[in-house]
Symmetry: D2
Subunit: 140 residues, 4 copies
C-alpha cells in the first residue's frame, strides 16, 4: 500500500432548502455534499462510475458514515475535502472532511464495492481499477 | 368531452426534512405530494408511465403550477386529491388539491405530453391512451 | 412602472441526486435552481427575506410555475437568469430562465406576497420595499 | 442496563423522486426513512425532540451510519424497524433495520447528544430523559 494520498477540495455554499426547521443543514444532506466531493475527485483523477460502467462493473455504495462536530447554516460557505483511501480489498473507499471558516464541521466516509454485469459482488479488484491505481502511483 | 371527473385521494403526513428554516414545508416539496397523488391515481385507474413505456411512449412533464393558500408544518396530516382533466389535446393533465383539517392548503396542476421512441413530441393521442379513455368512459 | 429590468445570472451544474430514474432532473428540483437564482439576485441587489424579516414582514411564496422545454441531465452545466418583474401590486414576482449550451431548458415564475407580524396579508407595498424600488430606479 | 429492547415498526413505500438515475433509492435518502422510523418511535413511546425542547435541551445528531445489503426500487414497499439502544452515556442511540419482502435491505444507526440552552454539550443524562427511561423500565 502506498503512502501517497490523493485528495481534492471543492467550495460549496449551503442552499436554503437544504436546511431544516432547526435552521441547520438537515443531517442526511451532508451525503449530497460528500457526493459532490466524490464526483469532483473522480472527474479530476479520471475514474468515475461511468468508467466502471464501460467495463461492465457497477460500484454500489455499501456503507456510509458521518460524524458531525458543528452545524452548517443557510448561506454558509464551506469546503469538502475528498480523499481516496487506498485499501487492498476490492473496494473504493473515500473519506470526506467539511470545513467552514477554519472550523471542522464533519467528517464522513463512503465504501463502494464492485459488482459485475450479473450484479454479483466481485471479490478481486477489476483490471480497470488496478490500471488506474498503477497510473496514480498507488500500487506498483 | 365527458362531464365525468375521475379523482382519487390519498392521506399523507409532513416529514421533518420536508420543512425549511421557516418551519413550513418548502414550496418545491409540494410537487412531491402531487406526484404521490398522481402515482396513486394512475395505479388505481390502470394507467402509468410504465404503460406508456410499454407502448414506446414517454410522458414528460412540460408544465407545473402550484398556488399556495396556507402552509403545512411538520407532522401535519393532509390529503391530496388528484383529478384527471379530460383535455382533447394529446396531453395528460392532472389537477391537485391539498386539504388539511378541513382547510385548503394549495392547488396545483401538472401537464404531461407524449413523446415517441425518438423523443419526438406526438401531436395525436396515442392509441393506448385513447383505449384507456374509452375504458374509463371519458370518450365514446 | 419602469421599463428597466433587473436581472442576474448564476452558473450551476446538475448534481447526481437531483436526477430521477428517467435519468433527467426531477421536475420539482427546478424550483431549487430558481431559489438559488432568486437568492443570488436578492444578495446582489440588496433585498432579501432577511431584510423583510428585519422590518417585521415575511414574504411567503404564493405561486410557483415552471414550463419545461428540454431536460437537464447529470453533470449538465447551465445558467439561471433571474429577473425581477416590477408589478404595481404588493408582490415580489421573479421570472426565471434556465439555459444550457445555448438551449432553453425551462422558464419559471414565483410570486411572493408580504405578511405582517400577525401573518396577515399586507395589501400595500411595505415602506422598506418601496424604498428599495426607488433606490433601484423602478419607481420615482 | 436493561435487557429490554424497545422497538417500533412502520410501513413505507419508495417514492419516485427518491430514486436516482441508477433506478434505485439514492443512498442518502435512507436517512429520511430512518427519521420517519425514529419519529414514529418517539411519538409512540412519548419522547420527542419537542419534549427535549420543552426542557431546554436540543438533541443534535452527531453520528449517522448505514450499511446497505440490497437496493430498494421505485414503488417497493418496506418496513423500518427502529430500536432504542439503552446506552449509559448521555446519548440517544437508535438502530434501524429496513426489510422488504422478507429481505434485509439495510441497517443503520443514529447517535444524538444533549445540548443545553447555551448549545453546550451536556455530559450527564438530563432529568427528563432519566424519568423517561425509568417509566419505560430501562433503568431502576
Amino acid at each position: 500500500m502506498s503512502d501517497l494520498e490523493l485528495s481534492t477540495t471543492i467550495q460549496m455554499k449551503v442552499r436554503f432548502h437544504e436546511c431544516d426547521p432547526l435552521q441547520i443543514v438537515w443531517h442526511g444532506n451532508y451525503f449530497k455534499y460528500f457526493e459532490e466531493g466524490r464526483e469532483d475527485f473522480c472527474q479530476k483523477h479520471g475514474i468515475s462510475y461511468l468508467d466502471a460502467k464501460k467495463n461492465n462493473f457497477a460500484t454500489p455504495i455499501v456503507k456510509t458514515e458521518c460524524e458531525h462536530k458543528l452545524p452548517l447554516k443557510h448561506s454558509d460557505e464551506f469546503e469538502v475535502e475528498t480523499s481516496f483511501i487506498n485499501a487492498e480489498a476490492a473496494k473504493m473507499i473515500f473519506h470526506y472532511k467539511i470545513v467552514s471558516s477554519g472550523k471542522l464541521i464533519c467528517t464522513g466516509r463512503t465504501t463502494q464495492v464492485f459488482t459485475d454485469k450479473n450484479s454479483e459482488l466481485v471479490l478481486n479488484n477489476p483490471p480497470f481499477f488496478l490500471d488506474w491505481k498503477k497510473k496514480m502511483g498507488l500500487i506498483k
